[in-house]
């Protein structure tokens, strides 16, 4: 009955999406989110976290936004020529059902370009993450740390 209802009604479609996004929000958990404190002359920094997917379906991270930077990108490190390493942009990161993905220095990381203010150790800033097929973003506070 409800299926028939939803096939017809755009209200029901919206409701389904809302329910789905609610489910995604509940199933994704951001742990140990932090931003690297950098000298004030630096215009960019990196962020780190562990992303848990407590749900029974895979979710796909597609990007993030924050007020503290004009642009955010997801990056990873790849091997380049002659023993070098370089950063490469990722447009999506899949977190398997019941799994987690770590963002760490030297591996996958969040890049914050063109910082809009100074990152003082002890401050926190909100980062909001977008997921494929999920309408509302998942937000979490990231603490600024003088990290290694």
């Amino acid at each position: 009955m409800s299926v028939r209802c939803c096939n017809r009604s755009s209200f029901c479609t919206a409701l389904m999406l809302w329910l789905l996004s609610g489910a995604a929000m509940a199933q994704v958990e951001i742990d140990e989110g932090w931003l690297r404190a950098v000298p004030p002359v630096s215009s960019s920094t990196a962020g780190y976290m562990t992303l848990h997917n407590r749900g029974e379906q895979a979710v796909v991270l597609t990007g993030f936004e924050t007020d503290i930077a004009e642009a955010g990108e997801i990056h990873t490190w790849v091997d380049g020529d002659e023993g070098t390493r370089r950063m490469q942009r990722l447009t999506e990161v899949e977190i398997p059902a019941g799994g987690k993905v770590e963002f760490r220095s030297g591996g996958r990381h969040l890049m914050l370009f063109r910082l809009t203010g100074e990152l003082e150790p002890g401050d926190t800033h909100e980062l909001c993450f977008g997921f494929r097929d999920v309408e509302s973003p998942v937000c979490a506070d990231f603490a600024v740390r003088r990290g290694q």
Binding site: S43, T84, G106
Partner: protein
């Protein structure tokens, strides 16, 4: 009675032998770091004060040298933070006078001396920044086997470098003694620096 004394004496001797063996291992357990004949040499570049600087001025001190660029948001600040931590611990032990940390930037376009001064000063006031015309920085990197390649946009926001990421441990005679992988543990750095002091 005599038997008990013998047992006691044996025990004392065993403990003493153990202590001696332990001290011996403590002293000699760390093998002397080999001299790298292939890499290194004097660098003459512009420092963070805008003055000509020769690394020969650092002879007599143990040097930790890192090639990077200040716009590098993940590795470089992580490595500099670790070097800063190691340096501070050496400072607290009164050993930092004989140690220098040198950051060589291969991005002179953005890393002006002033920019280097502000960047490095945030990690530690004593840190030395060096850079220069691209050809000179390239030559410096070649001497140390460091590699950097400017990357195009690569779909990212700003230009970037593919780069090697060693930290070079240089002894008081200017000889390379060890290459640390990126993000070395401060404890490892401190122990190796001390072995050269």
């Amino acid at each position: 009675m005599f038997q008990r004394l013998a047992v006691l004496a044996t025990a004392v001797i065993l403990v003493l032998a153990g202590v001696l063996l332990y001290l011996q291992l403590e002293n000699n357990g760390r093998e002397e770091l080999p001299v790298n004949e292939r890499l290194g040499g004097e660098l003459v570049l512009t420092d963070h004060r805008g003055e000509t600087f020769s690394t020969a001025e650092l002879h007599g001190n143990v040097v930790l040298m890192f090639f990077g660029f200040t716009n590098c948001p993940d590795y470089c600040p992580a490595t500099m933070a670790r070097l800063a931590q190691a340096y501070q611990e050496l400072e607290q032990a009164g050993e930092a006078d004989r140690v220098d940390v040198v950051f060589v930037s291969f991005d002179p376009e953005r890393d002006t001396p002033e920019h280097l001064r502000e960047y490095l000063g945030w990690f530690h006031d004593d840190f030395i920044g060096l850079t220069g015309p691209v050809e000179e920085v390239e030559q410096a990197a070649r001497q140390y086997g460091a590699v950097f390649m400017r990357q195009g946009a690569d779909d990212a926001e700003e230009y970037d470098f593919a780069h090697s990421d060693y930290v070079y441990l240089i002894d008081d005679q200017g000889r390379v003694r060890k290459l640390f992988q990126a993000n070395p543990e401060p404890e490892e750095v401190i122990a190796d620096v001390r072995s050269l002091l």
